[in-house]
Symmetry: C2
Subunit: 338 residues, 2 copies
DNA sequence: TGCGCATTGGACAACGTTGTCATGGTGCCA
DNA sequence: TGGCACCATGACAACGTTGTCCAATGCGCA
């Protein structure tokens, strides 16, 4: 049992090849050869070097290696809104997985929907010379990335498209999904359907609203602005929106809003039909089980990362826009009769 | 609208200070001065340099900077089990937050409970010269980190203690928590209580089992090995365990098992009382609402990161072991009568 | 005119590593 | 014994940056 601490004080300096070389009585280059398992080192010498490495706890400095080799840093950057949100952590995990297969590690950062923070994170990642960048945009202006991409750092945008530039983007089919939700509810007899969406500054929010309108039109339901409440949402705004309408059904614009709404409804006598955008754990165990329009976030993350690595592998086609289909999963909450 | 791509082919090289200097007609050092806002550069010269920087899309290479300065790389590493699990992504977010306050960025990696992967990730982070490491151990042997810590990379273990070394650790009070769950159930008249825990190789699993035994003893319930099923768990193993016992109440050992159990129970006529370890979103909206023993993962992440940064700020005290209290949150599922 | 001084710019080394090339020693064969 | 190939090892430069130091220029002032 070893005690891991520096209670003795004085911050030590990490051993370098130079230290190892001195201890082993060889040149730096020989140490390098041993570390890289290059041939041409006498077995006995290698032995001595390895002993010195062990003794000093030497570990090769990857930063210096990257500088010297001028090659990949073996990292990619991932800028998202909030890792603690299961939607984004699902994306993170999938991206991490793909990165691992390609021998890369992942730098993550949460922007909290703050465009400045998104920019700051992205640019700092670039300054660290990540091999590529996956960005879930918080802002609507991404010109700041032009020089980065021009300099060879591929960028893939996920879930929302970039503003004022054209670049690789992976989206989900928000419009079709929201329209499908309306169609589903209409098929169950609903005609007074409320839509609780996120802030209109957020791409997915307006897309889903557009899908809602489209669905209403197709179902012959006149669009009524009073049935729409865009976020950001708190329990109060959700409650107020529901009180304001006589809706028999509600479509919620993302997983956070769905949860807010479920909480509000739990404390209310009203039981409108409900279809949420984004799936969430236990949705099937609620009473009634919550119907959702969803896509596995892992698919988004995977698609984005694979697109990124295709670029890193030399894909020079014009920017792609991938739109992943969503799936309506009826579970009960959308079938409640008016 | 700019198209961000390299459709023209040929991977470009990033501009360096040397390129900027050539374009601006000055020496490299002058560029450095401008970039670092050092005094002693004629305004007009600085202007030229800035123009060149802009034109070339130059961004200072942080790797080279760190090498030269020999200082901090401005990163910390976080090795966890699975970012997609809300418990760990909560820790991640909190650690990220603290890191941000200290001007650091976070490298994350999921070990998937694989000790080799944990080791690989940790050592690679060290090779990248992270300023510190936060590890949620998958394995039980951590001697491999001794040289790293001796070389000045502080390491903090979270949620589970390290094996065969003594180091900074942040845990939760698993024993007390599990015992409290038993006490709670006993107070509601239960004496046949099952415990579904994770694999006994996992520290928290055995601790919680110990707490379970302690709680039984205190409540005067004879401990019965047949009431215990340790994981890993699937829907089948959970169902089998429940079928095998005549338990009127169940304690589940972590958030995954709780969810598995809820699913199994949803398809069953039995409605045992239930107390889960770890809170989870919507636990309060299930029917009945699920009682839990829990701690906000953010508190764990925050405590760990703060301990790490205390070390980085020069704290040389002997290794600390912080045990955070857990809280029993009765919500209904634990009150079901036998 | 000569001197000191402030201002501005540049040469050079170094961070830790590896690629290129050179060197010294050994063994083999004619 | 001379020539040669080969093995093991090392010297040096370079990656991109900054810290240290020195040089050149221009100014004020005696």
């Amino acid at each position: 049992m070893t005690t891991l601490s520096n209670a003795h004080g004085r911050l030590p300096r990490r051993a370098t090849m130079s230290d190892v070389a001195r201890l082993a009585g060889v040149s730096i280059k020989t140490v390098s050869r041993v570390v890289n398992a290059e041939p041409g080192v006498h077995a006995e010498t290698a032995e001595r070097v390895l002993a010195a490495i062990e003794r000093l706890g030497f570990r090769r400095n990857i930063g210096a290696l990257n500088l010297r080799r001028g090659s990949s840093t073996g990292t990619i950057g991932l800028v998202l809104e909030d890792v603690a949100n299961p939607f984004y952590s699902g994306i993170t995990r999938a991206a991490e997985e793909v990165a691992r297969r390609h021998g890369r590690q992942v730098l993550t950062g949460s922007s909290d929907e703050d465009p400045d923070r998104e920019r700051e994170l992205s640019l700092e990642f670039c300054a660290r010379r990540v091999d590529g960048l996956i960005v879930i945009p918080a802002g609507t202006r991404h010109g700041y990335l032009v020089p980065e991409i021009a300099s060879g750092t591929p960028v893939v945008f996920v879930d929302r498209p970039p503003g004022d530039v054209i670049a690789d983007t992976v989206l989900v089919d928000n419009v079709t999904g929201a329209a499908a939700a309306v169609t589903h509810l209409a098929a169950h007899g609903h005609s007074r359907i409320a839509f609780l969406g996120d802030a209109p500054t957020i791409f997915t929010a307006t897309e889903r609203l557009a899908g809602f309108r489209e669905g209403c039109a197709r179902a012959g339901i006149p669009f009524d602005q009073r049935m729409v409440a865009m976020g950001p949402h708190t329990a109060e705004t959700v409650a107020a929106a529901l009180d304001r309408t006589d809706a028999t059904a509600v479509i919620t614009g993302n997983n956070r809003i769905t949860v807010q709404t479920l909480r509000v409804l739990a404390g209310s006598a009203r039981k409108p039909a409900l279809v949420g955008f984004d799936d969430f754990e236990l949705a099937d165990l609620l009473d009634p089980p919550v119907s959702v329009v969803s896509l596995d976030p892992a698919e988004l993350g995977k698609a984005a990362a694979e697109l990124l690595f295709a670029r890193l592998d030399g894909d020079r086609e014009p920017p792609r826009r991938i739109v992943l289909p969503v799936r309506l999963t009826p579970r009960g909450s959308g079938e409640v009769r008016p």
